[in-house]
Subunit: 225 residues, 2 copies
């Protein structure tokens, strides 16, 4: 398995964490800790203690913990897009490509040996629990101008293109896809914490699989001519 490195927008960090040992430790450990503590209780002080470094050192990589979160989420969407590109390559039928993309988006993630310093499984839980916080802020517009959300936007566009290929007359491909991408993690959260909001059941096997079936049907019916 080839070792790869995702090329991320340099505005996401002050110093590239993929380039140094300390940087990789920051990524690795922050994923663990945000998953465990939640974003609110997570601090650079606790992180620095855990990796036996200092607050000041971490601030050389990321302006603050919000930026670090944005970085992690951006990494996730870029990773997903790379995997979709890989798996849909040479698949001619847009219907098949859409199904593959949706499966990759919704499925439960296990760790990807291509990126050994990232716990994709924990990162998926972070996306479920925290990703909306990346843009639900007063600085969303300036963050967006810096290109911090490009990962999510290009992923949305790529899948919307498949929908448009299937039915060029459907007027809401982007709205539909962004709605579905949101639901891809929201419904899992609901199944786990607010179960009356969804039919998906954690006890009945894989919630991600149930969500895949729900969303595939939804996207197909909605975009049908």
């Amino acid at each position: 398995m080839a070792l790869l490195r995702l090329e991320l927008n340099s505005n996401l960090f002050l110093r590239d964490p993929q380039e140094t040992d300390l940087g990789r430790k920051i990524i690795d450990q922050s994923i663990r800790m945000i998953d465990e503590l939640g974003l609110e209780a997570f601090t650079f002080k606790k992180l620095s203690k855990a990796i036996d470094s200092t607050e000041a050192s971490i601030y050389r990589y990321f302006e603050n913990k919000h930026r670090l979160l944005v970085y992690l989420i951006a990494w996730y969407w870029n990773w997903l897009e790379y995997r979709i590109e890989f798996e849909t390559h040479n698949v001619a039928s847009p219907t098949d490509r859409l199904a593959i993309a949706l499966r990759l988006v919704t499925e439960h993630k296990s760790n990807d040996a291509t990126f050994p310093s990232v716990d994709e499984s924990a990162l998926q839980r972070i996306v479920t629990n925290e990703s909306d916080k990346t843009y639900l802020t007063k600085q969303v517009d300036s963050d967006n101008k810096e290109g911090l959300f490009r990962g999510f936007k290009t992923l949305c566009k790529r899948i919307a293109d498949m929908v448009e290929e299937i039915n060029p007359s459907y007027a809401y491909s982007h709205a539909l896809v962004s709605t579905v991408l949101q639901a891809a993690h929201q419904q899992v959260f609901f199944a786990e914490h607010l179960p009356s909001l969804t039919e998906h059941k954690v006890v009945k096997g894989d919630v991600h699989q149930q969500n895949y079936e729900f969303l595939l049907e939804l996207i197909q019916k909605a975009s049908k001519a």
Copy 2:
């Protein structure tokens, strides 16, 4: 126009803010300030200054600002449910009732004279920008046990019941409705801040109307037999 008061779960507050002058000022001013500053920059200290009171006094009404936010959002969903109940009363056709409910959920809110101390228009913006933060926390399960999210859950159930009445064989009425309720504010946020994620355009007239059309079509196609 009759003056009404929504009966909210008493776990939402320490002292009922609807009962006193100070309480109503807290609600009124916090809506203004959270809308303006965003939840992160909003503090009880600033609020107390603005209404010429003290931090300590506000803490007698709400445990903390998270609880205050949950209260405001709960008020909003309860208000919406009341309006849906009112407007769908005596409407026999479930298809019509669904359309009415969706219109009420999606439409741009102007101020409701029935509740003079609440700026519903500002509150709608708060729902758009902050409501997901009510449950995206580590305490979501204990908050849920206290019934803090009942407003949203009963609204979802009420609309899901309409969907089920239209097509009893559709297996995902709750999942569909919770997805649509989320999209009802998410798509507006996207149109305003991340416009590449949606076809809705702020410049082309009323985003809320565009969203209504998108979501009505979505919910109808998705739940069709």
